[in-house]
């Protein structure tokens, strides 16, 4: 198990780096075990049965994009974004964080034997949804900008693309899922 930290060194900070392959949307769709449009309804951090700091995220699913899902989805993601009661904080580089109420299209990895799951390509597989004057849009982040650029009808320059209509995004995904299923 990951041992508790914080008691051994008085003022400790740490930084690390993760290396990931950058993916386009087709690669994300193909690699995802399940994907959906959903809203975060609960986020809880703690230690799992093996004692590993983990974050449990529960989504209500508005629309299944890939895979078969029934009802709400809860994932256990490695690490924590906030300090646990014992003072420890294990934050895996590149993994996304979540806030209750946040809407997104998320492409999830399959669940590992240890029960962990996270977006494909880490934060590359999370596409926040924002609403402008009633229009649902998929927002670009530093991590998913490459994937969004591969979506048609994107009319802003890379890599700081702003957003595209959710419906356009979902149309593109539907085509990619169908293409992925044929292969």
């Amino acid at each position: 198990m990951l041992s508790t930290v914080g008691v051994l060194i008085a003022a400790v900070t740490a930084t690390s780096a993760t290396m990931t392959m950058q993916l386009d949307l087709a690669q994300i769709v193909a690699a995802a075990g399940r994907a959906f449009v959903g809203r975060v309804v609960a986020v809880h951090a703690g230690r799992d049965q093996a004692g590993i700091p983990s974050t449990w995220v529960t989504f209500t699913v508005d629309q299944v994009v890939k895979g078969t899902l029934h009802g709400d989805v809860t994932i256990k993601q490695f690490g924590t974004a906030t300090r646990l009661e014992d003072g420890s904080l294990l934050r895996m580089p590149g993994l996304p964080t979540y806030a209750v109420g946040e809407e997104m299209v998320v492409f999830l990895s399959g669940e590992s034997e240890a029960g962990f799951s996270s977006p494909i390509g880490l934060a590359q597989g999370k596409f926040p949804i924002i609403r402008h004057a009633g229009h649902a849009m998929v927002a670009a982040t530093a991590e998913n900008a490459r994937a969004l650029r591969s979506v048609r009808r994107l009319d802003k320059p890379p890599p700081t693309t702003a957003e595209i209509p959710l419906n356009d995004f979902l149309d593109q995904i539907a085509q990619l899922v169908a293409q992925s299923n044929r292969q």
Partner: protein, 739 residues
């Protein structure tokens, strides 16, 4: 086709306030401006006992040693690395938790995830084919500013000799370049942006100018070798004896156009005049400035220093913006998202100024450096580009909106984003806003404020804040109105929100994205409350017709998520319009709004409303209590007063068999067994969007018990709105009064 690998810098394990200052500069800096470095030289690492893809353990250990070696081989640094002995066991998915993120065990694990199973176990099935690994400091202290432990995971699945869709491969050179970069982080280095142009020009012939510590792997062969910027960075952190005495240095501060405010986050580059591409060193202004709780070393604010320069050589000095995509784990410099610059420019000697003339931003004045004698006070004052600096460039200088409606135009090309400008909540994390200008508004009453930039000729964003310029609190935000509003412009902005009389609003209007600006048109209007802000009670009906009619409640209830169909109020509280806690009754205030463009109901497109049926309370119900009839009268009067169309109150028989011939029938309690009910018809139908009727008081008396005490009571309001095309919105609302 080039594969792209990103290096993602994020905190792994954190026990104190983190401080990060990236570029080819320190990864960590404490509040005193001291970089975190290893105090133990040689820097220890503990390799795993297993294999790494196709590499046996000995080869894997050699691979790691080889990847540390470029850093140790720099002649002007004293950093060295040492294999401090293998880990006690072969690390697998089953025991990785014992080693990862553990401070105080004096181990610096270099984990060989030979087949990706550790990555798969921790990050989920599929990510073992995407994540190459991670590396960097795990533990550090702020006093002294020191790295104490570090770790790395190397995903051997990428070098196992199998190349398929389900098991991708990269070359050992690329894998090596990745970990040379990562071991730079292990040593305490951040990212470099030197030679951004060469990195992104898709021309591999000039990739030798790209630093190993560039945030993205562009060229595995070239970036496997350090360039001057990398060498200077490691030497500045771990200088060999004589490094500073034998090389030159340029130091100074970057100032905003006002000449008095330091600027954090400009990338400052010194280039040798004779070899500007290769003999180039960069650092981010303010890279050592890391205030904690608002307190930092003020002299480091906007400060830069460029070391390791060749004595007797002439250098030009320039500033450029950090690439906007370098955010989060790919960040460069202390400002995230990167700060926008009005314009890149050179240092121009005696002509250095905020304006041109005399300071032509393309004109450089060379600086000659000498060994051991830093050239100091080489300050750059940022030019304010083509346009002049608007008077309302800063929040403190916001233009006060005197009366509404308000409209203004401005040239924002000269406006600059200030480090103190708050981020816009409607922009994705890391997405910049530039060319900011400010307005201030005091709400003239309770109602709805609409702000827009319709007619502007650039991509805008509006952020609204309460509080103060020093401590703004996000209130509303909009980036684009979207393609559904061609009259405004797809990339222009509009935000609509409720306000209370006297509320003070700070309004930030900006360019979405990198600096540009343009001709801004800014409009502000004020109107009565309606459902456009998404704050009404819809009553729950079919999604396509939910917006036909909604109840607007006063005062505005607090909803969390989708509002329920029940309003609850305690006698005498603010929701009780009579305000009397002793009258054993609650008075709810309801207004009906029709044809609502409610942002919550995207599937409901307002068309028209031709008829409203109030089915509860029933004006002439046989079991009516006095308040039921009064409530019905109040509601019907309010419905009939909706200020559109020509309304006519008439009478209908819901049973269908017996006619209600005259209004008197509907006004007579008990008439036709209570089946005659009044409705309101609009001829022509109401077509104007977001029309609200007058507020109507609906009284709910508490239940008077036989014991003489009072208990909770409930009344129901039910209404049907019908369009001319027979779309139906059936709304139910429950009003509950509590003692």
């Amino acid at each position: 086709m080039r594969r792209t690998i990103s290096f993602c810098l994020v905190l792994v394990l954190e026990l104190a306030v983190a401080q990060r200052a990236t570029a080819a500069e320190p990864l960590l800096v404490n509040s005193a401006g001291q970089p975190a470095v290893w105090m133990t030289i040689p820097v220890p690492y503990n390799p795993d006992r297993g294999t790494l893809g196709a590499l046996d353990n000995a080869s894997a250990r050699q691979f790691v040693s080889d990847r540390f070696q470029p850093w140790a081989a720099v002649p002007t640094t004293n950093i060295r690395f040492t294999d401090a002995g293998q880990l006690p066991t072969d690390v697998t998915a089953a025991n990785v938790g014992t080693y990862l993120g553990t401070c105080g065990d004096h181990l610096n694990p270099i984990i060989f995830d030979t087949d990706g199973s550790i990555i798969r176990s921790l990050l989920g099935v599929g990510n073992e084919n995407i994540v190459l690994g991670e590396a960097g400091p795990d533990c550090a202290t702020t006093s002294p500013s020191a790295i104490t432990e570090a770790s790395a995971i190397l995903n051997g699945r990428f070098i196992d000799g199998i190349n398929s869709a389900s098991n991708p491969e990269i070359t050992i050179e690329e894998f090596g370049a990745v970990f040379t970069h990562e071991f730079g982080h292990y040593a305490g280095l951040g990212h470099s942006q030197i030679n951004l142009t060469e990195a992104f020009d898709n021309d591999s012939s000039n990739d030798n100018a790209i630093a190993t510590m560039f945030p993205i792997l562009i060229n595995g062969t070239e970036q496997a070798s350090l360039n001057l910027d990398d060498e200077v960075a490691i030497s500045t952190l771990y200088p060999a004896p004589g490094f500073f005495a034998s090389t030159g240095s340029i130091r100074g501060t970057v100032w905003r156009p006002d000449g008095v405010t330091p600027f954090q986050g400009a990338y400052v580059i010194a280039r040798a005049v004779t070899d500007p591409r290769i003999q180039a060193v960069g650092v981010t202004s303010g890279f050592l400035f890391n205030p904690t709780n608002g307190v930092g070393v003020s002299s480091l604010h906007g400060y830069y220093e460029l070391n390791g320069l060749t004595p007797g050589t002439d250098y030009t000095l320039e500033i450029e913006a950090i690439y906007p995509g370098f955010t989060g784990g790919s960040g460069v410099g202390p400002v995230d998202p990167p700060a926008a610059l009005p314009v890149p420019e050179f240092w121009n000697g005696a002509n250095e100024a905020a304006t041109n003339p005399p300071d032509d931003p393309t004109e450089a004045t060379p600086i000659t450096v000498s060994a051991g004698a830093p050239v100091t006070n080489v300050d750059i004052t940022m030019n304010s580009v083509s346009g002049s600096l608007p008077s309302n460039d800063q929040c403190a200088d916001a233009v006060a909106i005197g009366s509404l409606p308000f409209s203004a135009t401005a040239d924002t090309t000269g406006a600059v984003e200030s480090p103190t400008d708050p981020s816009m909540s409607c922009l994705p994390v890391g997405y910049p806003a530039s060319n900011t200008v400010w307005y201030a508004l005091t709400a003239p009453g309770d109602g709805v404020v609409t702000l827009d930039t319709c007619g502007s000729n650039f991509d805008t964003v509006i952020g609204v804040f309460t509080g103060t310029c020093a401590a703004p609190v996000a209130r509303a935000c909009n980036d684009d109105v979207g393609s559904g509003d061609a009259t405004c412009g797809t990339l222009q902005s509009r935000t609509v929100f409720d306000v209370s009389a006297g509320e003070v609003l700070l309004i930030e209007v900006a360019q979405t994205g990198p600096p540009q600006g343009g001709a801004l048109v800014f409009n502000a209007t004020f109107g009565p409350r309606s459902c456009v802000t998404g704050d009404c009670l819809p009553g729950r009906s079919a999604a396509a017709s939910e917006c036909l009619a909604e109840w607007l409640i006063s005062p505005q209830p607090v909803f969390s998520g989708r509002p329920s169909t029940q309003l609850t109020c305690h006698d005498g509280e603010s929701c009780d319009a009579d305000g009397d806690p002793t009258n054993h009754s609650c008075t709810f205030t309801l207004a009906l709004c029709v044809n609502n463009t409610d942002p919550r109901f995207l599937k409901c497109v307002p068309s028209d409303v031709s008829r409203l049926d109030l089915t509860a309370p029933n004006r002439n119900g046989t079991r009516n209590k006095p308040e039921d009839t009064a409530n019905a009268d109040a509601l019907l009067a309010a419905l009939a007063a909706i200020p559109e169309g020509v309304s006519s109150g008439t009478c209908t028989n819901l049973a269908g068999g017996t006619s209600c011939l005259v209004n008197a029938d509907c006004n007579s309690p008990g008439k036709h067994d209570g089946r005659c009910r009044r409705f309101v018809a609009f001829m022509p139908p109401v077509t104007t969007p977001n029309v609200c009727g007058a507020p109507a008081p609906v009284v709910v008396p508490l239940t008077h018990r036989a014991s003489g005490t009072y208990g909770a009571a409930t009344k129901h309001v039910r209404l049907r709105a019908t369009s001319s095309t027979r779309r139906l919105d059936s709304d139910a609302l429950t009003l509950r009064c509590l003692p």
